[in-house]
C-alpha cells in the first residue's frame, strides 16, 4: 500500500484515512491553504495552520476546523503529519507525511521568494514530492519583487501626476495584501474593492499588520480617488464597477503578464509580472532541495514539466487534480471563487 494515493476525491492517505486538499466532500481533510481550489466546502473536519484558519472559516462559514502550528507534529493512526511554510500566501503550508521512515511532501501552491508577508518558504526533505507546476516552463522567470514594486510605485506616481486613478488587480486573498504591504503610501491612499477589504479585515483581526486601506463605497466622490490607488480582484476589471473611476489607468499583477500576448489580451494599460507561485528556476530549486527521487506534478504545464524532470533523472509522474493554480486569474469568475 502506498503512503499516498490519488483518488477521485483527492490526494488520500489510506493508513491515516485522511485527504489532503480534496475536491469532493470527505470525512477528514488536511488543507494546505485557503484558496478555493484547495479548501473546498463540505468536509466534516478540517485541519489547517493557525494563521490560515481565520480566512478559511470566513470563506466556508461554520466548519469543524482544528488548527496546527508550523512544525508541530500530529499523529493519526501512526502517521506523522506536520505543516511547513510554503510562502504562497499567509498561512499556506506544505504538508509533510511520515510513516515507517517513508516521507512524502504535498506542497500545495508555493513560492521560494520571501514576499515579506506570507511565512517564508522552507525546503522540506522527503522521498516523494508532490508539486504544482503552474509556471513550469523556462519562459517564466520572476524578477526580485522589489523591482516589480518599484515599477508599480512609479506607475502610481506617474498616474498621479497625470491626474489619474491607478487601478490594480490581484487576487483578493494573498496577492492583494502582498501588494498593499509594498505600496509607497507617501504617494497617496489605498482604496480597496469589497472582496479585498473583507479579507483585509479578517487578516487584521488575527493580529497581522497591514497598511491602511479604505473600502470603496457609494458615499465617496469620484474626485476622492484621483491620484490614489485602488486594489481590486481580477473579476472586477471587466465589470461595471470599474466605471466609477473616472480617467483610470488599469494594471494587472499576475505571473501571466510575463507574456506579451497575455498583457495585450487583458487590454489593461500595464501588466506587472507578480506571482505567488514558483517560477521555472524556483521549481527546479525546490525539487532539488527536497532531495526527493519521485516527483508527482499536479497542475500547470504537467506534460512538459514531467518530461523535463524525467530527462533530469527523476521518477516523474503526472497526477490529474482539480487544482487551478493561477488559471482563474485569467478568467472572468465571480468573487467567491476567484482565488487560485
Amino acid at each position: 500500500m502506498s503512503l499516498l494515493e490519488f483518488r477521485k476525491e483527492g490526494i488520500y492517505c489510506p493508513q491515516a484515512d485522511v485527504y489532503i486538499d480534496p475536491w469532493r466532500p470527505v470525512k477528514r481533510a488536511l488543507i494546505t491553504h485557503g484558496h478555493a481550489d484547495h479548501s473546498r466546502w463540505g468536509h466534516q473536519y478540517y485541519l489547517c495552520t493557525t494563521s490560515a484558519m481565520p480566512v478559511i472559516r470566513y470563506r466556508l462559514g461554520d466548519i469543524n476546523v482544528e488548527t496546527i502550528d508550523y512544525g508541530e507534529k500530529k499523529s493519526i493512526h501512526g502517521v506523522q503529519f506536520s505543516f511547513h511554510p510554503a510562502g504562497h500566501i499567509l498561512g499556506s503550508a506544505q504538508i509533510r507525511i511520515e510513516y515507517k521512515g517513508e516521507v512524502w511532501v504535498v506542497s500545495g501552491d508555493y513560492k521560494i521568494e520571501d514576499d515579506g508577508f506570507a511565512e517564508a518558504y522552507e525546503p522540506v526533505q522527503c522521498h516523494s514530492f508532490i508539486t504544482e507546476c503552474t509556471f513550469g516552463l523556462p519562459i517564466y522567470k520572476w524578477k526580485p519583487q522589489q523591482e516589480v514594486f518599484d515599477d508599480i510605485n512609479s506607475w502610481w506616481q506617474k498616474n498621479k501626476e497625470e491626474g489619474k486613478v491607478s487601478v490594480l488587480s490581484g487576487y483578493s486573498l494573498g496577492k492583494a495584501q502582498r501588494i498593499i504591504q509594498h505600496l509607497d503610501t507617501s504617494i497617496g491612499q489605498i482604496y480597496t474593492h469589497g472582496a479585498v477589504e473583507n479579507v483585509n479585515e479578517v487578516i487584521r483581526s488575527q493580529g497581522v499588520k497591514l497598511q491602511d486601506t479604505i473600502r470603496v463605497h457609494q458615499g465617496l466622490n469620484k474626485k476622492d480617488y484621483i491620484g490614489n490607488m485602488v486594489i481590486c480582484p481580477p473579476s472586477a476589471m471587466g465589470s461595471a464597477w470599474i466605471k466609477k473611476f473616472k480617467s483610470a489607468s488599469l494594471g494587472v499583477a499576475s505571473g501571466w503578464m510575463m507574456l506579451r500576448g497575455a498583457r495585450r489580451r487583458r487590454a489593461a494599460d500595464r501588466g506587472f509580472v507578480l506571482s505567488d507561485h514558483v517560477d521555472w528556476e524556483g521549481l527546479n530549486t525546490a525539487i532539488e532541495a527536497s532531495g526527493a527521487e519521485r516527483i508527482f506534478v499536479t497542475h500547470g504545464y504537467t506534460d512538459i514539466f514531467r518530461r523535463w524532470l524525467a530527462e533530469e533523472g527523476y521518477d516523474a509522474q503526472i497526477v490529474e487534480t482539480e487544482y487551478e493554480g493561477e488559471l482563474t486569474e485569467m478568467s472572468d469568475k465571480t468573487d467567491s471563487n476567484e482565488e487560485e
Binding site: I139, G238, L259, R260, R264, A267, I304, R307, M330, D332
Partner: protein, 528 residues
C-alpha cells in the same frame, strides 16, 4: 537602440492611440540619429532588413544559450506564440551594457548574410549577451521579420506629421514606393519635396468601409454609383515616363508578377494612374481567387500559369490623367475620363468595372442577390460627387457584401493561438457528420469574443482526449456556426471541399452535436 527600445516598450504598454502617437513623436524629437529615425519609419511601414539567419538555426542557438533541450524550447514557443519573444525569455537574464544605435544593429544583422553558419552562430550569441531583455526581443524581431508593434502606418504618419510639420497626406505619399533606408536618407525621403522624382510612386489607396445595414440610410439612390465588388487583389497601375508600374494594396510593387499588363505601357498615355482590381479572368468570367493566390506565391511566372490563371485589370477609377493629380475631381468626372481612357486603350487586359443600373435601393438589393452568379463578393457604392480620398474613410465609399454561407459544425480539435492569443485555445478544427462519422472540413481562428475564448479554453483543458504536440483532440460536444465566403471541390481535403474565409459566426450552445450539419449539406453549397 536604447531609445528605440524605450519607444517600443512605450508603444507596447499602451492601447491608447494618442499615447502611441505621442511616444512616436517624442522618439522622433529625441533620437540623435537620423538614420535610426528612418529605420523606425521603415520598420513601422513593414520594410525590414532581409532575413540573414533562418529560424531553425536561431532556435538551436537559443536552446544552447539558454541551456535547455530543443524540445523544451519548442514547447515554450508553442505557449508563447512568438519566436523572438521565446528566445528573449529563455536566454539567461545577464547581459553586458552597450549603447549602439538601432542602425548599428540592423547593419550587424545584414552583415550576417555572407557569413558561414559557425560565424553567424558566434555573432548572434555575442549580440544576445550585449543586450537587455527589451533589446534582445527587438534584435530577434529584426532578424526574424514580422515586427508587429500595434502601430498602423497611419499613426506613424500622424506622429511624423507632428514632428516635421508636414501634412499627413504629403507624408503618406512620400513614404510610398520602393525605398529602403539603404538607398535614401531621412532628409531626402521625408523632408525633401518633389514627389515626382520617383516615377513609380503610387497614391494612397482609398478603402471602403463595410455597410452592415442596408443602404437605405445613405440617402437618394441617384447620388450613388454602384459596381460589383470583384474578388481579386486591389491594385494601382501607373504609366509614367514610358514605364509601367503595378502596385498591390499592400504597397508592394508587383509589376513583374503580372507580365500581362506590359502592353499597357505603350497603350496608355504617360501620366496615367488607374485604380482597379487585379482579377484572374478567362472566357468572359472571373476565376477563383485561389488561382490568383497560388500564382502570387510563385517566384517564376511560367507559361502554364499564364494560361491557367491569366489576369486582367478591372478598372474602378482614374487618379492621374495627363500627368495631373485628379483625385479631388468628383467621382463622376473621373469616371467619364476613365471610360474614355479605357476605350482609347482598347486592350482586352484593361476592362471597365461596369456601373449597375438601379432606380431604387430595392432594385440594387436584387442585383446584390445575383452577386454569386457573377462570381462577385457584393456591391460597391460610391458617392457620385466624392473625391478620391486616402486610406479608410467613412462616408463616400461603402462595400455592401453578400451574406456569407453558413453551416453548423462540431469542434473536434483545438490548438493554442499565437501572439495576443498565446495561451488561449483559439484555433479550432470543425467537422460535419457523414453518417456516424465526424469529418473535419475546416479550421477557423476568429469570431469569438475574448470571454468566449477563455470559456472554451477552460472547457478544452478539461475535455482533452489526445494530445499531438500543440494540438488537442477534444470530446465532440460544442456546435459552432461557421460562416464562409466561398467553397470549391478539393481532393487534397478529406471532406472533399475547401472553404474561403471560414470563421466562427457564433457559438450554438443551444444545439446538441447530433443536430450539426452533414457533409451532404456542405456539398450542396458547391452547386448553389
Amino acid at each position: 537602440m536604447k531609445q528605440f527600445a524605450k519607444l517600443f516598450t512605450a508603444l507596447d504598454q499602451t492601447t491608447k492611440t494618442n499615447a502611441k502617437v505621442e511616444a512616436l513623436a517624442q522618439f522622433f524629437r529625441e533620437s540623435e540619429h537620423d538614420q535610426d529615425k528612418l529605420w523606425t519609419v521603415a520598420i513601422l511601414s513593414h520594410r525590414r532588413p532581409k532575413r540573414t539567419v533562418n529560424t531553425t538555426l536561431l532556435r538551436h542557438w537559443a536552446s544552447e544559450e539558454g541551456s535547455i533541450p530543443l524540445w523544451l524550447f519548442e514547447e515554450s514557443y508553442h505557449v508563447v506564440g512568438d519566436l523572438a519573444e521565446t528566445i528573449a525569455l529563455t536566454l539567461p537574464p545577464d547581459f553586458e551594457e552597450q549603447d549602439q544605435s538601432l542602425t548599428y544593429w540592423i547593419d550587424f544583422i545584414k552583415s550576417l548574410g555572407k557569413l558561414e553558419e559557425e560565424e553567424k552562430r558566434e555573432k548572434v550569441k555575442w549580440a544576445w549577451r550585449q543586450l537587455n531583455y527589451a533589446e534582445r526581443f527587438i534584435f530577434n524581431k529584426l532578424i526574424t521579420g514580422g515586427f508587429r508593434v500595434g502601430v498602423s502606418q497611419k499613426l506613424m504618419v500622424r506622429a511624423l506629421a507632428q514632428y516635421t510639420g508636414i501634412e499627413e497626406n504629403t507624408l503618406a505619399h512620400r513614404l510610398m514606393g520602393d525605398w529602403t533606408p539603404d538607398d535614401t536618407t531621412f532628409h531626402d525621403l521625408i523632408l525633401s519635396s518633389d514627389p515626382m522624382e520617383d516615377l513609380s510612386k503610387p497614391y494612397p489607396f482609398y478603402l471602403a468601409y463595410a455597410l452592415d445595414e442596408g443602404p437605405e440610410d445613405l440617402g437618394a439612390p441617384e447620388e450613388w454609383q454602384a459596381e460589383r465588388k470583384w474578388d481579386g487583389i486591389r491594385g494601382q497601375l501607373i504609366v509614367r515616363g514610358d514605364e509601367l508600374f503595378v502596385w498591390s494594396r499592400g504597397e508592394e510593387l508587383v509589376t513583374d508578377k503580372f507580365p500581362e499588363y506590359a502592353v499597357l505601357a505603350e497603350k496608355l498615355p504617360n501620366g496615367t494612374v488607374l485604380d482597379g482590381e487585379i482579377l484572374p479572368f478567362k472566357d468572359g468570367r472571373p476565376l477563383s481567387f485561389n488561382l490568383l493566390q497560388t500564382r502570387i506565391g510563385r517566384k517564376n511566372i511560367t507559361k502554364n500559369i499564364l494560361k491557367k490563371a491569366p489576369v486582367i485589370l478591372m478598372a474602378y477609377d482614374l487618379l492621374e490623367w495627363e500627368g495631373q493629380d485628379i483625385r479631388q475631381k468628383p467621382m463622376e468626372e473621373r469616371r467619364k475620363l476613365l471610360e474614355y481612357a479605357v476605350a482609347q486603350c482598347n486592350e482586352e487586359v484593361l476592362m471597365l468595372s461596369e456601373r449597375l443600373q438601379f432606380d431604387n435601393w430595392e432594385a440594387l438589393a436584387e442585383e446584390r442577390d445575383k452577386s454569386r452568379e457573377y462570381d462577385s463578393e457584393g456591391i460597391m457604392l460610391k458617392r457620385k460627387d466624392s473625391p478620391y480620398r486616402s486610406g479608410r474613410k467613412r462616408g463616400d465609399w461603402w462595400k455592401w457584401k453578400i451574406d456569407p454561407m453558413m453551416i453548423d459544425a462540431v469542434m473536434i480539435y483545438a490548438q493554442r493561438g499565437h501572439g495576443r492569443r498565446a495561451n488561449l485555445y483559439t484555433d479550432f478544427t470543425f467537422a460535419v457528420w457523414d453518417g456516424d462519422l465526424l469529418v473535419p472540413f475546416t479550421k477557423a481562428y476568429s469570431g469569438l469574443t475574448d470571454k468566449e475564448f477563455r470559456e472554451i479554453t477552460a472547457w478544452v483543458r478539461k475535455h482533452t482526449v489526445e494530445r499531438f504536440g500543440p494540438v488537442r483532440s477534444v470530446t465532440p460536444h460544442h456546435v459552432f456556426e461557421i460562416a464562409f465566403e466561398g467553397i470549391r471541390a478539393s481532393n487534397r481535403h478529406k471532406s472533399g471541399v475547401a472553404l474561403r474565409f471560414p470563421r466562427i459566426n457564433r457559438w450554438r450552445k443551444d444545439k446538441p452535436k447530433e443536430e450539426a450539419n452533414t457533409l451532404a449539406d456542405l456539398k450542396a453549397f458547391l452547386n448553389a
